[in-house]
């Protein structure tokens, strides 16, 4: 932070791409506002300094998952990261595990293709309206909080190295949210173990550390799905019993 003509400003470096697929950081000076988040600063640059800066945001409330980026190399939501929590220089770059569209915008479209492959919700026959216990709702709730920011995909070293082979943490969470659904009849651990490549995950827990929704991705989704697949191999009845309760 620096003082300039009585106005407090902040310096922010933003990654800019060029026509030829290259790129580098550019520095900007932005006036400080109380309680400001990184997205405010980036938007200020886009609206008042260089309107060609490509950015993606929508809700500005940490609810939609659009504004994922790497802030000082940490995958974060720009709209949720307060400037006053960052010490020293602020550097903002796009998520690096994805192809770049332009500047801060990453191409996350592959995630929707993966979603298409995950077997969809398939409820069992039951009298309508359904009766469901709150305790069963609670079991699936954690996974349903996901805002699809894809920060977990960004941080996962398996995806960086073997993208084609592993669907990635977000999609294990999706599968878990359906598997835990009290009315569902499909076992997605099979998909995860075969096409899904969950075996590549070596439970480093980096993904759950960056999740802005605080989902225990590794502990509660990945490990559970891995174990379920193993159990299922030894005890096929177990799965059916679990689903029925």
């Amino acid at each position: 932070m620096s003082e300039e003509s009585g106005k407090r400003v902040i310096n922010i470096s933003i990654y800019r791409t060029d026509e030829n697929g290259g790129g580098g950081y550019k520095d900007y000076e932005v006036p400080i506002q109380e309680g400001m988040v990184v997205l405010d600063a980036v938007r200020y640059v886009q609206e008042h300094i260089d309107t060609t800066l490509a950015i993606r945001w929508n809700c500005k409330a940490a609810r939609c998952g659009s504004c994922a980026a790497e802030i000082n190399n940490m995958p974060k939501l720009m709209c949720k990261t307060r400037i006053d929590t960052i010490k020293g220089k602020i550097r903002v770059a796009p998520m690096s595990a994805f192809n770049s569209v332009a500047d801060l915008v990453a191409d996350v479209s592959e995630n929707y293709l993966i979603n298409r492959q995950i077997p969809e919700f398939s409820p069992r026959e039951a009298e309508i309206p359904w009766k469901i216990k709150q305790i069963d709702v609670e079991r699936t709730k954690e996974f349903r909080k996901c805002i699809e920011c894809f920060l977990c995909q960004d941080v996962c070293h398996v995806i960086r190295d073997h993208k084609a082979d592993y669907v990635g943490p977000r999609h294990v969470v999706k599968a878990a949210s359906l598997d835990m659904h009290p009315m569902d009849t499909v076992d997605r651990s099979e998909f995860l173990n075969n096409e899904g490549g969950i075996g590549y995950c070596n439970v480093t827990k980096c993904c759950q550390e960056v999740c802005p929704e605080g989902i225990k991705i590794t502990d509660n989704a990945i490990i559970q799905e891995k174990e379920r697949a193993a159990d299922r191999f030894y005890d096929p009845l177990l799965w059916r019993r679990e689903k029925k309760r």
Partner: protein, 572 residues
């Protein structure tokens, strides 16, 4: 020519929020091919932000609830200018849409008997809002997204629709700009559903997301469709006031639904004065005005808001029922709502008005164009009940999808006129030039709306606003940005500015015409509600001008009127 790609389908849907996606599911079920276009990424539509819940009279919590009560509440809180036929459809069909959503995979919070849990909300006689914590919108959007992704529907996300084309007075296509590539896309279809959501961003302080710039209003208006009730803008009583970056961000009504109370700086529970019976849970217009008057009278807090307190409910309760709100205040404002009160003030939240549609078919006044969701008008009248919008997007989204699919039977696809496509591409490209910064004008425009078309309005302010907007419109023709067509937010800013101006013009003109106070429209120079204003104000494009007309609200037939508390006018 030739510098665009063509995509043809039976049905084109602009908007991938709840309304657009629900419409797609109907149409696909009827064997139609569907293209869905959205200017944000899949699953990020504004619907994702909805918190409190979806209103449906399933009576799981309060057994006496049924559609007739929901119907009555909707008409009464819409202050008698809503379309009673739409209210009937909504009230009758909302329960089935909720159960259906559950069968699609959505999970709702439960009662001890395993039924769907429902919470209290302002203006609803019974506890009626089905919800999952304070993330109901996320649950709805994700469920519909999964469903649609597992069909043959084609999703075009981050594509910005800039114009609709007609042939022989009938819809035939739309032009879009694909942000990721900078390419123009021509969508041809037999029918179109506009489901583009609201226009909250025309105000400075709003709970709405980036995309809510009223694009659908302008697309329809420029194609010759009528807009209705544009003066009816809902101010939500509780938005955040601090820090400045999140000013306007919604503080869900569920806080009051779960027992939160409003206090002024003298620690008075002021709603006892304004609404002794319903208190904090009166309709939004009532609570928003009360809050506004308290702040104006100098009984506000340091950041110009009043206090909303739920801390008496205890930490466990708050973390379970309102986890999103807890983290929102903790992270953005450093306030722990389990211990302290929140400071809040009214924020622009919803457009009751919009594209005029037929209650039974969702048809607009242009052949082949249908509309549903927040962008359409009629259901909510002068004030929308919380929870009724999520019900609206499912009920009328489904209806629009079905009717459009039936309507196109036996019709062929018409070819858009080459010259019109060319002209539109030129218009869009034309903004890449040396010119004024669009954001400066957006800033001016939103200030005019905030200052002169706020919660309490008057003729002088509004007439001045109309003049100022005209001037901004003139200068908007000279905006320009550098760069190219690919992912150029500045270019979108130029295009959005033009759409926002259409919304602002129609809002201000309609508001100036209505010489009374009703629902969300309050005038200090006409403080009373008057019978002769039991009309809907309709706007239509007439060259560069707006032509307006008044339509008398249809009387509710006796067999339905008995469910509605009779109207009372003060002077009669």
């Amino acid at each position: 020519m030739g510098d665009f790609k063509e995509h043809e389908s039976d049905l084109l849907i602009v908007g991938a929020g709840g309304a657009g996606m629900r419409a797609a599911i109907s149409a696909l079920g009827m064997g139609r091919s569907v293209n869905i276009v959205s200017k944000s990424l899949i699953g990020k539509a504004h619907t994702v932000m909805a918190e409190g819940g979806i209103a449906a009279s399933i009576g799981d919590v309060d057994r006496s609830d049924n559609w007739t009560v929901h119907f009555g509440d909707t008409v009464v809180e819409g202050v008698y200018i809503g379309n009673w036929r739409m209210a009937e459809i909504l009230a009758k069909q909302a329960p089935e849409r909720v159960y259906e959503l559950e069968r699609f995979g959505a999970v709702f919070d439960r009662t001890p008997e395993g039924k769907i849990m429902q919470r209290a909300f302002g203006g609803h006689t019974y506890r009626r809002l089905c919800h999952v914590g304070d993330k109901t919108g996320l649950e709805i959007i994700r469920t519909l997204e999964d469903k649609v992704l597992h069909t043959d529907a084609k999703m075009f996300d981050e594509v910005y629709i800039t114009r609709l084309f007609l042939r022989e007075g009938r819809f035939c296509g739309a032009l879009g700009l694909e942000m990721r590539t900078g390419e123009f896309l021509l969508f041809k279809a037999k029918a179109l559903i506009i489901a583009t959501g609201g226009c909250g961003r025309v105000y400075k302080v709003t709970s709405n997301s980036w995309e809510s710039t009223g694009d659908g209003l302008a697309l329809a208006y420029n194609a010759g469709a009528e807009l209705m009730d544009m003066e009816m803008i809902q101010f939500h009583p509780t938005g955040m006031v601090w820090p400045p970056g999140v000013k306007g961000l919604l503080v869900t009504e569920s806080i009051r639904g779960e027992g939160g109370i409003l206090l002024n700086s003298k620690h008075e529970r002021f709603m006892l004065r304004y609404s002794p019976e319903k208190k904090e849970l009166d309709a939004r217009d009532v609570v928003a005005r009360a809050t506004y008057y308290e702040i104006k009278a100098g009984r506000g807090g340091p950041h110009g808001g009043v206090y909303l307190d739920i801390s008496h409910k205890g930490r466990d309760f708050i973390l379970r029922k309102l986890p999103g709100m807890y983290s929102q205040f903790k992270e953005f404002a450093g306030v722990d709502i389990t211990k302290e009160a929140m400071e809040v003030a009214p924020t622009v939240h919803y457009q009751m008005g919009g594209i005029r549609v037929d209650p039974y078919t969702c048809a607009t006044s242009v052949s082949g164009i249908f509309s549903a969701g927040e962008v359409a008008s009629g259901l909510h009248g002068a004030n929308r009940l919380g929870g009724n919008s999520l019900a609206d997007i499912l009920v009328f989204g489904k209806l629009a999808g079905e009717v459009a699919s039936r309507w196109m039977e036996g019709k062929d696809t018409l070819e858009p006129e080459d010259s019109e496509i060319e002209r539109e591409m030129d218009r869009v490209r034309g903004f890449i030039r040396k010119g004024g910064n669009p954001y400066d004008l957006i800033d001016e425009l939103t200030s005019v709306m905030q200052d002169r078309l706020g919660i309490v309005r008057n003729g002088d302010d509004m007439r001045k606003a109309i003049e100022l907007i005209k001037d901004i419109k003139r200068r908007s023709e000279e905006v320009g940005v550098s760069g190219g067509l690919k992912y150029n937010h500045g270019l979108l800013g130029c295009l959005e500015l033009q759409n926002m101006i259409v919304a602002c013009e129609t809002i201000s003109v309609s508001a100036n015409i209505r010489e009374e106070s009703r629902g969300a429209h309050t005038r200090s120079d006409f403080p009373k509600r008057r019978r002769e204003w039991k009309v809907n104000i309709v706007c239509r494009k007439d060259g560069e001008d707006i032509s307006t007309r008044l339509i008398k609200v249809e009387e509710i037939p006796e067999e339905f009127a008995r469910y509605v508390k009779p109207e009372v006018y003060e002077d009669e």
